[in-house]
């Protein structure tokens, strides 16, 4: 196989892996969110007093364990929010596997900047 053809095949493989990871993440997230929403509508109870809802990962997990509708919905949303991060992570791994170090380092840079902005946002 020529170098160009090998490059092309590598890109295609990477894209398929990224798309599969995304699909799984999105399907799991949508199912969980949907279960929570249906539970909330059927019982009419959010599991939390008044208009309040959990605002941290720890609270969400605590509520999820006892199956509180809002916590279930937020768990699904949390997984959705993580799908893009997962996508970047999977890309790094696939680029390294394909020995495309230029794009592996570009993606690592993006990942680092994302983490920095996430940490700055919390401060």
């Amino acid at each position: 196989m020529s170098k160009d053809a090998a490059d092309k095949k590598n890109i295609e493989d990477a894209e398929i892996i990224i798309s599969k990871t995304l699909r799984a993440g999105v399907a799991i997230s949508a199912t969980i969110t949907c279960v929570g929403l249906v539970l909330f509508i059927l019982t009419g109870d959010s599991g939390y007093p008044g208009e309040t809802f959990p605002t941290s990962v720890r609270e969400i997990i605590k509520g999820l364990v006892v199956f509180k509708p809002y916590a279930v919905m937020l768990s699904g949303l949390l997984i959705l929010m993580l799908t893009p991060v997962l996508r970047v992570g999977v890309s790094i791994v696939t680029f390294i596997k394909e020995k495309d170090y230029m794009y592996a380092s570009i993606t690592v840079t993006v990942f680092l900047i994302l983490i920095i902005s996430f940490l700055l946002g919390r401060g």
Binding site: D7, I11, T33, M81, V110, F118
Partner: protein, 277 residues
């Protein structure tokens, strides 16, 4: 309760549909619809629009990646510019007058709407000399266009200006908190001469990554109200699924015709905001 949930779902299906077609996050539809039509507090509407951006991005990226319309390399490379831009924007908040930002970028969008109108009959970018930097960065690509029923090979140019525009897109989204998707599409379509479909699909791929970085902040601020955000996520995912299927069968010229009024609307809204500030 059920009726509001259904209304949010329907709005979100529409937002996801338009967002996946045009490479935008759908925030330009979700935010006004939730606040003006349903009377939801802007705080929760913004949280819902962040969820909408991520849902549009992840929902449509599945199909676009599979069909190789997304240029992953270009997306990752340009993501460096948007993320550093967003960081700069966060630091510049309070230093730069938002009034002039709204005005400047409102007019820039107006100009690019005109630019796009002139290109309205152009299905694919015209030929131009190969760009050595694009070769080196392996940015040139090809995708299967179902509307034209052919494999489209394309080259990328204007790397520096496109990268610069992406940086600015990041700064604006960091400062004004508004959809950087529209600027991303503009940078790829006008500066880098990517085919329209590749521009919108790649923009879609990128916006989710940028939005995810700020999602944690919105969660801890209490902006992600589950009874609003959950139907938004489900509706947008569904709408994006339908939109991606349709987009592959649409001609780029049709996509442009849908894009131009959206561009006009956003630019006028920004200019009006700038004048009022």
């Amino acid at each position: 309760m059920i009726s509001i949930t259904v209304e949010i779902l329907l709005i979100s299906v529409f937002a996801g549909f338009i967002g996946s077609l045009l490479g935008l996050g759908g925030g330009i539809i979700i935010t006004p619809a939730l606040t003006l039509y349903l009377g939801i507090d802007i705080k929760y509407a913004i949280g819902a629009s962040i969820v909408s951006v991520i849902a549009t991005s992840s929902g449509s990226a599945i199909a676009y990646l599979k069909d190789k319309i997304t240029n992953v390399r270009a997306g990752m490379f340009l993501e460096i510019a948007t993320t550093t831009g967003a960081l700069t924007g966060a630091f510049l908040a309070g230093v730069i007058s938002t009034k002039y930002l709204y005005l400047t970028f409102g007019f820039l969008l107006l100009y690019s709407a005109g630019n796009m109108f002139r290109k309205r009959n152009q299905e694919l970018p015209q030929e131009f000399p190969a760009n050595p930097l694009a070769e080196k960065l392996k940015l040139n690509g090809s995708y299967c266009d179902r509307a034209l029923a052919q494999q489209v090979d394309y080259h990328v140019t204007g790397i520096y200006s496109g990268f610069g525009m992406m940086y600015i897109a990041g700064v604006i989204s960091g400062l004004l908190g508004i959809g950087s998707g529209i600027f991303k599409v503009m940078a790829m379509d006008s500066f880098m001469k990517l085919p329209m479909k590749v521009s919108t699909a790649t923009s879609n791929f990128m916006i989710g990554v940028t939005a995810a970085a700020s999602a944690g902040i919105y969660l801890s601020r209490g902006s992600i109200d589950p009874k609003i955000a959950a139907p938004v996520a489900l509706g947008v995912l569904f709408g994006a699924g339908v939109g991606t299927k349709l987009m592959q069968r649409l001609k780029s010229t049709t996509l442009r015709l849908i894009f131009i009024p959206v561009l006009l609307y956003v630019s006028i809204e920004m200019i009006v905001k700038g004048v009022r500030l």
